[in-house]
C-alpha cells in the first residue's frame, strides 16, 4: 500500500514517499522514511511490506558501500542501478525467493546528469523520467504524463510533486497524510515533509 513516486528534471531528481506503516486496520506510524540514502547523491525509495523493505534496503546500502571500498571510490547511477538489479535477479530462484519489494532509484552523477530508475522485485530495470510504484501508478501516471516536459526546473518539479500528493489525497481510498520528499541535485540531498 506504499506510494512511491518520482520525477527526473533537467538537473535534479525527486522521489517522494508516503509516511504510513499500516497493520490490518491500524496505522502504526505516519512518519516513516521509506527513501534510503545510498550516498550523498543517490537515493532509493523502496515499496514493500515492512521487513522486506528494511532488510533489502540495508542489504543494498551495505553492499553498495562495500563495492565502493573494494573498487576504490565512486559508482555512478547506471552502475548502481544495474548492481541493485542484479541483487534482485540473484534472489529470484533462491531458497527464500525474490526480495518482496519494488523500488525507485534516483540520483545525480558527478557531472550533474540526473537519472531515475524503476526497479521491480523480479529484476526488471527501466530508466524513466517519471514513474511510481504500487497503487500510486493508477492515480499519478496520467498526471505525471500531463505535467512532464523536458528540462524541468527544481521549483517546477516540486510543484508537480505537490499536485501528485494532492491527487492521492483526493482520490486514493487509503488516507495518506504525510509525505516525505527528497530532492537530489549536484549540491546534495534536500528533504521536505509535506
Amino acid at each position: 500500500m506504499d506510494s512511491i513516486f518520482g520525477l527526473q528534471g533537467g538537473d535534479f531528481v525527486i522521489i517522494a514517499c508516503d509516511g504510513s506503516i499500516a497493520h490490518s486496520i491500524l496505522k502504526i506510524k505516519e512518519t516513516e522514511d521509506k527513501i534510503l540514502k545510498l550516498d550523498d547523491h543517490k537515493i532509493f525509495g523502496i515499496s514493500g511490506e515492512g521487513a522486506d523493505r528494511n532488510s533489502f534496503g540495508e542489504l543494498v546500502h551495505k553492499n553498495h558501500s562495500l563495492i565502493r571500498y573494494k573498487t576504490g571510490g565512486y559508482m555512478n547511477l547506471q552502475e548502481t542501478a544495474h548492481f541493485v538489479r542484479s541483487m534482485y535477479a540473484q534472489a529470484i530462484r533462491s531458497r527464500d525467493g525474490p526480495h518482496q519489494c519494488n523500488g525507485l532509484l534516483g540520483g545525480v552523477d558527478s557531472d550533474g546528469t540526473p537519472s531515475l530508475y524503476w526497479l521491480d522485485y523480479l529484476g526488471s530495470l527501466q530508466k524513466i523520467t517519471r514513474g511510481a510504484q504500487g497503487y500510486a501508478n493508477y492515480f499519478l501516471l496520467g498526471l505525471l504524463d500531463n505535467q512532464y516536459k523536458p528540462n524541468l526546473t527544481k521549483e517546477e518539479g516540486i510543484e508537480i510533486i505537490k499536485k501528485c500528493i494532492k491527487e492521492l489525497q483526493t482520490r486514493f481510498l487509503i488516507a495518506q497524510n504525510k509525505f516525505i520528499v527528497k530532492i537530489v541535485t549536484k549540491q546534495g540531498i534536500e528533504v521536505i515533509t509535506i
Binding site: R93, K127, Y135, N137, F139, G142, L143, N146, K149
Partner: protein
Amino acid sequence: MIDFDPSTFGLAHTYQKEDKDEINTLALPSAPQVIYKTLNGPTQINGGNKLTNFKHGTTTLGFVFKEGILLAVDSRASMGSFLSSEQVRKVIEINEYLLGTMAGGAADCQYWLAYLANHCRTYELKNGSKLSVAAASKFLQGILIGYRNSGLSMGCMIAGTDTTGQHLYYIDNDGMRLKGDIFSVGSGSTYAYGVLDNHYRYDLSLNEAVELGIRAIYHATHRDTASGGVVRVYHIHKDGWTKVHDGIDVVDLHYQFAKQKGLVGDGDEAKQRLF
C-alpha cells in the same frame, strides 16, 4: 437432464469422500519450495489482485461546468487480450435531451439505455412533459437494483438537460446512483482523474472544457491497455446535446501533445543507453 452416475462409466473404484483415509499416498520427493508471494499493488496484469481487477475495459468521463456538461469517451472494445473493435460508440443517444455513457457490458448498456429511451418517450406522450434527468436515472437504478444478483455489468453515466438545468448521474450494476460534478468510469478512469482533478474548474469555457476532456481521455488511453481508439466528445447544454467531436485518433493526439512539449513522442525521454 441425464443424471451421470459415476458407476456407469465402468470405473472399478470411484473416489468418495469417506475413502480419503484409506488412500495410500506416495511420499513426495523433496523439492525446493519457492513461493512467489503476490505483492500488494498492480504488479499483475489481468486481475491478479481483486482490488485492481477492473472489468470495465474502457475510459469514459463527464463533468459539469458553467456551459453545461461535457462527456468524453474512448472507443476500444477488448475481449481479453484481443482487440475486438477500435470504433465502438460508447455514448448512447437516449433522446434529444439525454445521453448515456457505456462501460462494462456493451449489450447490457445498449439494451437498458434503449429501454430507458422507450420509457422516457412513453412518459412524454402520456404526461405531456419530458421526464427529468433525476427521474430517468432513478428509473434505471430501479431496474438495476432488481437485477442486482443476475450478473449485469454496467458502469454508466446519465447526463441530460431538463427544466432545472443540466445534471450528471453515475449509475452502476450494484444499483448505486450518485449525483455529481465529475465522474470517470472504467479501467482507465484513475489516469483520467489525475488530469481532470488537476485542471478542472467550474468556470471553464466550452473550448477549454473540450480540450480538458480530450486530454484526460488521451492520458488514460496512453497508460491503460484496455482503452484506446478514438476520442468522442459530446456537449450537453440547455437546448439538448451536440456532438463536438466524432472521433479524434489518440495516436495523432500523442504526437501532437509531444510536439507541444518539444518532444518527438518515441518514449525515449530517459535516453537509456547501455554503453
